[in-house]
């Protein structure tokens, strides 16, 4: 483990910040708490995606597959077969891990390039949406309504928006923590070497298949679990939200805006954009539907033009002046 890891963990700002966020349910009114909860969901999703898309540099557009598996499969298991939602979440995570491993294996076996990988994963995401919408067991086009939230934690019920906030906060902490661990462990160095030059990495003895599978499985399991909790929080498993490729595009854009391949980058992107989008949607959603997505799209275009490494490196440079930042190098390297 790189000493930076312990240095980050010992930083007082981190713990003070976390504590400040954790007490938000006592001060925020429910509407804003709901927005904060959604923000945490997307922070968690973007951070989980970052392990594959940022650290390993594999532009996966298939993550709606894992959110969909977590959300739709666990809900279907509960409603159709009476499986406890925690168990359902674990089963869905196992299914996501298997799917992720297959995608990583395909990538390795057929040596898909950067672009082909993006295309193939997008095709998988489209197929997943068609399957979910066409298959009654998973809810079909009308989705699945979950039983009312009565606050029984053993049934994965959070008892309203306060409990949900803490649940999502824990998931976001786990997802960011996983990024910190991966980045500072040998795995993170292997993944970054694969990202920067696959052939060179292999030549110095970095195993491609094993490391790609590890990254994808970690990311898929986290994403699936977040998907289950998200569906449970919304009490409605909506295939057009959870299994739609648009969700993946959102995640990718948040991560890009914040800064790919950094532990806190994707979280920053989601932290800036989700509250902005949700407040706009609340105020102007009736008049101008789609405004928040329009702003996401325009923001990512602007950020890529201004600072292709994302906003986090830009902010770090501003604050640290000339000091070299200790965080890993930018992923956006041209071949």
């Amino acid at each position: 483990m790189n000493p930076n890891f312990y240095r980050t963990l010992r930083a007082p700002a981190l713990w003070i910040g976390l504590l400040a966020v954790a007490v938000l349910p006592f001060v925020l009114p429910n509407y804003y708490l709901h927005i904060a909860t959604l923000t945490l969901v997307y922070i968690a999703l973007a951070s989980a995606w970052n392990i594959v898309g940022g650290v390993a540099g594999q532009l996966s557009l298939a993550h709606s597959l894992f959110v969909g598996a977590g959300g739709m499969l666990a809900s279907a298991l509960l409603l159709k077969l009476g499986v406890n939602m925690w168990l359902g979440a674990i089963l869905a995570a196992a299914a996501s891990a298997a799917l992720g491993a297959i995608i990583a294996w395909l990538d390795f076996r057929f040596r898909l390039g950067h672009l082909t990988f993006a295309l193939i994963t997008l095709a998988f995401a489209e197929m997943a949406e068609i399957v979910v919408i066409g298959w009654e067991f998973l809810g079909g086009a009308s989705g699945l309504f979950l039983p009312k939230d009565t606050g029984q934690f053993s049934q994965m019920q959070f008892g309203g928006v306060q409990g949900a906030f803490w649940m999502m906060l824990s998931l976001a902490v786990v997802a960011i923590g996983a990024n910190l661990v991966v980045l500072n462990a040998p795995l993170g160095y292997y993944l970054r070497s694969i990202r920067d030059n696959e052939n060179a990495a292999q030549a110095i003895g970095v195993g491609l298949l094993g490391n790609k599978i590890k990254a994808m499985v970690i990311s898929a399991v986290l994403t699936s679990f977040i998907g289950t909790a998200y569906a449970r929080y919304l009490t409605f498993a909506d295939p057009y939200l959870l299994a739609s490729p648009v969700l993946t595009i959102e995640i990718v854009l948040f991560a890009t805006v914040g800064g790919l391949g950094r532990a806190f980058g994707p979280a920053l992107g989601a932290l800036l954009l989700v509250p902005l989008g949700e407040v706009l949607r609340g105020k102007l959603g009736g008049v101008l539907p789609g405004l928040h997505y329009f702003i996401y799209g325009a923001t990512v275009v602007a950020v890529i033009m201004l600072s292709p490494r994302g906003l986090l490196p830009l902010i770090q440079d501003l604050f640290s002046g000339k000091r070299k930042s200790a965080t890993p190098t930018a992923p956006a390297k041209a071949h």
């Binding site: 950067h114 066409g134 890009t256 405004l291 956006a332």
Partner: protein, 288 residues
């Protein structure tokens, strides 16, 4: 038997338009090396421009091309020059995210202006049917088929035997050598992107009659275009046209012989298999 012929005809007609969508992307890819994830949203922009002209002046979509074609060419040139080119040259891997951002902005810009309810753009020929034996074809599909073929041939001739076509092929083969021969590489790239987007204005006008317009349809067109592009071997223009037809036919066959869901899955399954086992495309990689 009639059912099979009907499916084949339908697939051939619709598939040729897919081929043309992909031809635009293939042209851009072979010159600039970028894959445009907002391609389908430019198709829907073209279709919504037709709709706007129809609602304002009751123009037939085929007539409104006189306005939408130059407009889209201009938009394409501006988007490439001011948004994509600066990023493509410095950070080529970010182009995917950039074009995804453009896609999201376009799709929802359209949603904000036109609303989410489906719109129709009627054309004078919309209701006409063409009978060929027992096979029934809708007139807009037949028009789209012949227009796509004509455009593909025109593109081929332009690339083969005009100066600008030779410049495009030169940049495709070796940009540095082309620059040394006096070709303005940047200008050629802007021009091909503009032409590629211009093709989408034509595709939009051809697809608009009889298709309900939805702001969210762009992503589907993008994916179909990408399927045809990769199946066709990225830079092989004949292959791309053929791949469009393969996708159209497999979609039509799947819809008839399998369930709706399986039918919709079939083109993707064909795509995944071909990418894995024949990554150079159905005809192999070569340029026009």
């Amino acid at each position: 038997m009639d059912e099979l012929l009907q499916a084949l005809a339908q697939g051939l007609l619709v598939g040729s338009t897919y081929g043309m969508l992909a031809l635009g992307m293939g042209l851009i890819y072979s010159v600039s090396g970028i894959v445009n994830f907002s391609h389908g949203d430019f198709v829907s922009l073209g279709m919504y421009l037709c709709f706007a002209l129809f609602s304002a002046f009751a123009l037939d979509p085929y007539v409104s091309l006189a306005i939408t074609l130059p407009a889209m060419i201009l938009i394409g040139a501006l988007v490439y020059r001011y948004l994509i080119q600066p990023v493509a040259e410095a950070h080529s891997l970010m182009v995917v995210q950039l074009t995804l951002g453009i896609a999201l902005a376009l799709q929802n810009g359209i949603l904000m202006i036109f609303g989410g309810q489906p719109h129709r753009v009627p054309s004078a020929v919309e209701a006409k049917l063409v009978m060929l034996g027992n096979v029934v074809m809708r007139m807009p599909h037949v028009v789209a088929f012949f227009a796509s073929i004509a455009l593909a041939v025109a593109l081929f001739v332009i690339l083969r035997s005009t100066d600008i076509g030779r410049a495009i092929r030169a940049v495709h083969q070796n940009a540095r050598a082309a620059a040394l021969m006096g070709v303005d590489v940047g200008r050629v790239k802007v021009l091909t992107f503009a032409v590629g987007i211009g093709l989408l204005a034509i595709a939009g006008a051809l697809l608009a009659p009889g298709t309900p317009l939805m702001p969210s349809m762009g992503l589907r067109y993008t994916v179909i275009t990408l399927l045809a592009l990769v199946l066709g071997g990225m830079t092989n223009f004949l292959g791309i046209m053929l791949a469009g037809v393969v996708i159209g036919v497999s979609e039509a066959l799947g819809m008839i012989y399998l369930s709706d869901t399986l039918g919709m899955l079939l083109p993707y399954a064909v795509f995944v298999l071909i990418v894995l086992f024949r990554p150079e495309g159905i005809l192999g990689r070569s340029s026009a």
